[in-house]
């Protein structure tokens, strides 16, 4: 087990290298310059060229990449080309916000989706089932920005229950957490229901019933454990997706998170920020997948990690 984890962690190095290589290449291939700030009033070309020289953006891309890797090995992510901040500073102050919001949303989604999915499967084709599936469909199909704007209007402007501006108190976090979790919640409910439906029809469940186990034991001990494997598979990437921040939620609820920073850095061609955030995301997804792989072994003893 330990050697497996060690090997997977070592494999992270080439993975991150290729992520860095591809991201660097694509970011620099996109036309435009980080110093082109205002489309209505472009800076003179001479000024831009001077800025590019100063920040070394005029060097050949392979040379820039080599320099970047060298700095990366010394854990230096560089400084933003458009803001007066270092990449480490941006990630350090913005990522915890996104991570907190994402984890809250994930736990909320799991807390609702797992029971709801199981109950829907057990009470298939009843009102409970139809109700939860209708909710899941709504949660998947209505875009979060529509729900967000609607919720702001109802709860903040009309009912004046919650503030719009600011961040940090539970009152500020309720709506963004809830709305961010909706998509994952809907999806997880459907997956849980579907795999639970499949599990309760399996032979081992019939066997469990046959040997006289209580219904509760059958469902929790046998069916649910197996039904969790597909759910665990998607929880990995879903977690990575949630904690890296949502541009839409962060913009609408003025959350000072990393998701917004990331999208803006791409639009602005802020190469060091793009690279830093991309590498962080790649790392998180790799770790999430590794965790899921280890979790498989716990859920199903037949799956052995080697």
């Amino acid at each position: 087990m330990l050697t497996y984890v060690a090997r997977r962690l070592l494999l992270l190095i080439p993975t991150l290298f290729f992520v860095a290589l591809i991201t660097f290449g694509l970011a620099h291939a996109a036309p435009g310059s980080p110093f082109d700030k205002n489309p209505d009033r472009p800076l003179p070309q001479a000024t831009i060229e001077r800025l590019e020289r100063l920040y070394g953006v005029d060097r050949p891309v392979p040379e820039q990449f080599a320099l970047y890797l060298g700095n990366l090995l010394r854990f230096d992510l560089g400084s933003s080309l458009v803001k007066d901040r270092s990449v480490a500073d941006i990630i350090g102050s913005q990522f915890p916000v996104s991570a907190q919001l994402g984890l809250q949303a994930l736990f909320l989604a799991l807390a609702v989706a797992l029971p709801l999915g199981v109950i829907s499967a057990l009470r298939q084709n009843t009102a409970v089932d139809y109700g939860s599936m209708a909710l899941a469909t709504v949660g998947t199909t209505i875009p979060s920005f529509v729900i967000a704007i609607f919720a702001i209007y109802v709860f903040a402007v009309n009912l004046k229950l919650i503030p719009i501006v600011g961040w940090g108190t539970p009152k500020h976090m309720i709506l963004p957490t809830l709305i961010l979790s909706l998509g994952a919640m809907a999806f997880l409910t459907r997956i849980t229901r579907a795999s639970m439906l499949e599990a309760i029809r399996q032979d081992y469940v019939r066997t469990a019933r046959g040997k006289g186990l209580s219904e509760q034991m059958v469902i929790v001990g046998h069916a649910l454990k197996n039904a969790m494997i597909p759910v665990a598979t998607i929880i990995g990437p879903a977690t990575a997706g949630l904690i890296t921040g949502s541009f839409i939620i962060e913009t609408l609820f003025s959350v000072p998170g990393l998701g917004r920073e990331f999208v803006v850095s791409i639009v602005r061609r802020d190469y060091p920020v793009i690279m830093g955030v991309y590498l962080l995301y790649a790392f998180l997804i790799a770790v999430a997948n590794l965790t899921v792989d280890i979790l498989y072994g716990v859920l199903d003893p037949r799956i052995r990690v080697r």
Binding site: Q45, R50, V165
Partner: protein
């Protein structure tokens, strides 16, 4: 350059300003002051919106409205602008500058006893350090170009710091004509007479900075602990991407400002900011065109709305080096064949028809009687008939290139319709990615036949419009238009020290520009803002966005629940 990013980044004044500055030649703006009965709340707190987080609040790098707004609340220059006339008046300087007889040497003397907000004395050396930082190639600020009028600044600023030797850089630095003569006097040596230098001395590029701030803060000196200025407010907290909090500087030389605390939020989604204003979480808000109908249908909001002028002009540029736009008759025909009043009413919603010259109302040089481009389909057709392309194939399917987005698409399609109707010409809209668009208009070889751009005042002077944008050596937009007489006129005006003669020269040049039409003036940016009834003492001018630059120490709020 150009500190206006969107139409919402606006200015505060009254509706009557437009009427008040219909005078000839140089114009003045009447600032509006919201006078109230209520007494200032001694613990008054104001909340406004800064939009997205500033890239930088370093005075020597700032270039966008929000960045400059922060700088101007925390720092104060040698000069400031009189809100009534937009002419420079002493601020940190004790009196008007002493100008040498050849107009090339400007000497400013500081007030007695000036202090930074941390209580340490402020000297001419701090100003010297600030101006020099703008010229420093390692600072690499967007606005360094305004100091190129100072001897040696351009040479030092454009050096390649990677290749140049340390001694060469040092020599270039020593040659810059910015020198503190003693603790209270600073002298500038210019490369040529420049009557507008007083206005430049008001700008963020010349804000004083403490050596200690730079040493202690390094790259991060703009964080609250080391971001120490000499203006009415102190930055006390900056939560990145969230908000900035300012508190009054009790040691400000004019006396402590009336506001105790001023929070600037960073909401960059218009609909959310509008909801926050309605929820009393923001006290002032620029109205976006899409919210205008909601505001007008609500009596309370409608009563809080004010019209404000701006400092920008949007125009349709022509590539004057390529057929058919190399013929002024063709350009003028296009310029005269769309109804600007109707454009503003139907498309822009918030704005003013550009029925005068290039310079917008509220900025010195606005010329309402410049009728060269006024809407007149008959004259436009006559102009077209006179052109050498009268019935040539070049006139068919002229391409109109624009940065692809929904708003500009609507603009271009409306214009296309007008030209079809009034000129019988088919123009082909050509949307391109906005980053690609920016690249296109920079080089004459790639400048499209027709394109849309805007220009905003950097400082209130004709030089910043007529010379900076349309002199043939411009680095702004490459129309390729070159007229020797125009070039000579604006350069003569730049150096002229007699104000009346200077204004007359610029006006002559400005009218020539409209008649030659390398660009067709589309609209002047104006705005509408919402302001809560408890916010008082707000003074603004055409240059000022929402509570961002002038007389901030007079703003107060009355007690309210």
């Amino acid at each position: 350059m150009g500190h206006l990013r969107s139409v919402v980044a606006l200015v505060l004044t009254g509706a009557f300003v437009l009427a008040a500055c219909q005078g000839q030649g140089p114009t003045t703006t009447n600032p509006i002051t919201q006078i109230g009965e209520g007494q200032p709340d001694p613990n008054g707190a104001l909340t406004t919106n800064l939009g997205s987080e500033p890239d930088t609040i370093d005075p020597h790098k700032a270039s966008f409205v929000g960045e400059i707004a922060v700088v101007m609340s925390v720092f104060e220059g040698l000069m400031t602008l009189d809100p009534k006339t937009l002419r420079p008046v002493p601020a940190a300087a004790a009196k008007e500058p002493e100008i040498s007889s050849d107009q090339k040497s400007w000497k400013f003397t500081l007030r007695d006893g000036l202090k930074f907000s941390d209580g340490t004395p402020l000297t001419a050396r701090d100003f010297e350090r600030g101006f020099m930082r703008t010229c420093d190639p390692r600072t690499a600020g967007d606005y360094a170009f305004v100091l190129y009028i100072v001897a040696g600044c351009e040479k030092w600023n454009t050096m390649d710091v990677r290749k140049a030797s340390a001694s060469a850089l040092d020599a270039a630095k020593k040659a810059v004509g910015i020198n503190a003569l003693d603790e209270r006097t600073i002298q500038f040596d210019l490369i040529e007479p420049a009557a507008y230098f007083g206005s430049i001395a008001y700008m963020w590029v010349g804000m004083p900075v403490k050596q200690e701030s730079l040493d202690k803060g390094g790259e991060r000196w703009t964080e609250p602990a080391t971001y120490i200025g000499n203006g009415p407010f102190r930055l006390t907290s900056w939560k990145h991407n969230e908000s900035m909090v300012f508190e009054r500087n009790d040691g400000y030389w004019r006396g402590a400002p009336k506001l105790k605390k001023w929070t600037r939020q960073m909401l960059n989604e218009g609909a959310v900011a509008f909801a926050a204003y309605r929820n009393n979480e923001l006290d002032v808000l620029g109205v976006a065109a899409e919210d205008l109908r909601s505001v007008e249908s609500d009596n309370e909001l409608k009563g809080q709305m004010q019209d404000v002028p701006g400092s920008c002009t949007y125009y349709i540029g022509f590539n004057a080096t390529r057929p058919p736009m190399d013929d002024p008759n063709v350009r003028l025909a296009f310029a005269r064949s769309f109804d600007r009043d109707q454009y503003v009413k139907e498309i822009q919603k918030i704005g003013a028809a550009a029925n005068g010259g290039f310079i917008p109302p509220g900025i010195p040089g606005y010329d309402k009687d410049d009728a060269a481009q006024r809407f007149d389909p008959a004259a436009a057709k006559a102009s077209l008939a006179k052109s050498k392309y009268a019935s040539a194939p070049e006139l068919r399917n002229v391409k109109f290139t624009y940065a692809s987005n929904a708003r500009t698409k609507t603009r271009v399609e409306w214009l296309q319709q007008q030209w079809k109707q009034n000129l019988g010409l088919e123009v082909v809209p050509d949307p391109v990615d906005s980053t690609a668009y920016t690249q296109l208009v920079k080089k004459l070889e790639t400048t499209p036949l027709m394109f849309i751009l805007g220009w905003c005042a950097d400082f209130p002077d004709q030089q910043n419009w007529l010379t900076t944008v349309f002199h043939s050596t411009t680095t702004v937009a490459k129309t390729g238009w070159k007229n020797e007489k125009y070039d000579a006129l604006v350069r003569q005006a730049d150096r002229e020290s007699d104000k009346a003669r200077r204004d007359a020269l610029y006006q002559e040049a400005s009218r020539m520009l409209s008649a030659e039409a390398p660009a067709a003036w589309l609209y002047y940016v104006t705005g509408k803002i919402l302001i809560k009834p408890w916010v008082k003492g707000v003074t603004t001018t055409a240059l000022d966005s929402i509570l961002s630059q002038f007389r901030l120490w007079e703003v107060y709020v009355t007690k309210h629940s």
